[in-house]
Symmetry: C2
Subunit: 355 residues, 2 copies
DNA sequence: TCCCAAATCTGAAACGTTACAGGTAAGCTA
DNA sequence: TAGCTTACCTGTAACGTTTCAGATTTGGGA
């Protein structure tokens, strides 16, 4: 057996060495399939197949090739693969640069990376500013074919990006749901449950005039979920919803603070507030205290947070955690499986507020 | 002139149409150099050169080719370029996933993206966990040639990554300085100035027993800068430095809070604290208040922050801003220019604490 | 013994780009 | 007119991979 294999190599080797063929690796050069092919006395085709465990290659050959590959530290050249197959091995995260809700971006990135690090995929990040067309980065990716899959956030009920990607058959997953009858992978935090639980906890403290600082007004889907959960609790609790029309999570913290002071100094001030962003909560507290009121006495505050910073914040406010890192992991897994052809309906998940 | 050019096209066109050559663009196919070459009646070489404004191509041809390219929305295929030239057009951001200091990652990403968006470069992000070898992602990038340049943070005085990259001649820029005699591009916040100014401002309030919550103890370069600035102010102010050995910025917020409470309840408690992280500051405040002390009365706090959240934090603490987004922009510009061959010494910059 | 199928392996072509080593025509000089 | 230079353009090869369409060997059945 050993003899045959050696003999095999001998003949192959001599027949393969052609004058002018450089097969020795120069300093700093990376090994390619050709390198392995030469070392194993095989054709590059065989090596290529052996490395991906193709059925038409003998077991002995496979093992030998894989061993050599491991020994010389072979890694497939991404450009070669990409050029030949069209597969980029890239997942693109498309983000809004403005709507950074305290650690959202980083946790999302880390969650996604955790999953991708066990795969050949790389993560590219493409932020866009809120003034720009959100479609622009999406179109760019599709037109230039620069990713195999896309993850995006700030999903809207009727989302042009979702429609576009679905039409073009590009795998993607959204952080947040749509309401447009297109089935697609998503992961979402159950904001309805959060708003409901939050308002409930305020009711439990005897609060009856409750306001909510929700997501970007009506544009983004989760705004609707928040409203739904909030209204349900308000109705059940026979309380009153105080509407604060002109601020939302996208508003600058300074303006949130000022507007809060104004409202809390007015005649119709709430005695409980539900807030869906950690940083906004800090600005709310500043506004409340500027109005001369005391948290826990005059008004109670419940907030969602995606880092644990608010946990240490004084005065104490009730917090529900949204695990964005987990969302990142879920979204990454979803796009990957979508790329593999798994049905979109199997790639939809929700996570629940966690006190 | 027009006639000549038309004639030119005619002959070229007919000589170029070979049976079996598919030149029409199928549905959803992207145009390539070949597409343009066919449309313009030129060779692909000429088109390639015309698009990059090479001197050996006639002005009329250049304009014509560029017009066609624009009209049909031609974008060079990255895999083709990468395979042929070895240039990836990728900048890789290598980050520590744990040391997220409130918005650091996202601002860094956005700053870098702002600069890259005007170039053909894409940004990939590679986080690594603190338990893992920080060299691992760096080695991976170098071995697989997956980026033209690297940006990394958490720079150490004697940084193995810097040595490795310098040896391999890979362009990179660091957020933070080294002390190893290797000239390389960096951008750094002047932490010495920050610590000095911070301690000074506490001295100005009459504080004389001052503690500092610095960066990861001694590992990271900026720790030294903080200590230097801090000590200088302490000496000048004839004050006393209170050492708190077992906590730093990497410590969990819960532990920071607990340890702070302990220290502030002890006999040798500081009356002023300099803190170099926004989120740590919030935990510090929690600890201080847990010890029954009042900020502004029993103790004053100065902190660095990289978002504007602390600005709205109550009780009021003195804040200096580190503009991480600006750092991202600077770092991106630095790597790009380094890739172009600019001398490293011209790509080193510092930014100053901004009240 | 011969033939056929199965099991392995093979080279050539192609993906889109750029570098190399020319080629051709026009215009100028002598 | 011949010869040279300049301006402009050309095809071919190569980067590393996978796919296609065979080629070779082996073993078994007739």
């Amino acid at each position: 057996m050993a003899f045959v294999s050696q003999n095999n190599m001998k003949t192959k080797d001599s027949s393969r060495i052609r004058p002018g063929e450089a097969v020795e690796l120069a300093e700093g050069e990376r090994p390619t399939l050709k390198t392995i092919a030469f070392m194993a006395g095989l054709g590059v085709t065989t090596v290529s197949r052996a490395l991906k465990d193709a059925p038409e290659i003998g077991q002995a050959t496979k093992s030998r090739v894989q061993l050599i590959a491991r020994q010389i530290g072979y890694r497939p050249n991404r450009a070669g693969v990409r050029l030949r197959t069209g597969k980029t091995n890239v997942i693109s995260l498309v983000l809004n640069a403005q709507s950074e809700i305290m650690g959202l971006t980083s946790n999302m990135v880390y969650g996604i990376s955790e999953v991708l690090s066990e795969t050949p995929y790389h993560l590219t990040v493409t932020p866009y500013s809120v003034e720009n067309d959100p479609m622009q980065p999406i179109r760019y990716i599709v037109e230039t074919g620069s990713a195999d899959g896309i993850i995006m956030s700030r999903t809207e009920p009727d989302d042009a990006r979702v429609r576009y990607l679905a039409e073009h058959g590009i795998p993607f997953a959204t952080h947040g749901r749509t309401e447009m009858g297109i089935e697609h992978p998503f992961h979402d935090f159950d904001n309805e449950a959060f708003a409901y639980k939050s308002a409930k906890s305020l009711l439990l403290k005897g609060r009856r005039k409750i306001a909510m600082m929700a997501g970007p007004t009506s544009a983004v889907t989760y705004h609707r979920h928040l409203e739904r959960g909030f209204s349900r609790a308000i109705e059940e609790g026979d309380a009153r919803a105080i509407l604060v029309p002109d601020i939302d999570v996208d508003t600058s913290l300074g303006r949130i603070r000022d507007r809060t002071e104004e409202i809390m100094s007015g005649p119709n001030r709430p005695d409980g507030i539900v807030c869906c962003s950690g940083s906004a909560a800090i600005a709310l507290v500043a506004g409340i205290e500027a109005a001369g009121l005391k948290i826990g006495k005059d008004v109670d505050l419940v907030s969602k947070q995606s880092t644990d910073v608010l946990k240490w914040f004084r005065p104490e406010i009730i917090v529900f955690n949204e695990d964005v890192r987990h969302a990142g992991r879920e979204l990454a897994r979803a796009v990957l499986r979508r790329i593999e052809g798994v049905d979109a309906r199997e790639l939809q998940s929700l996570s629940y507020p966690d006190e």
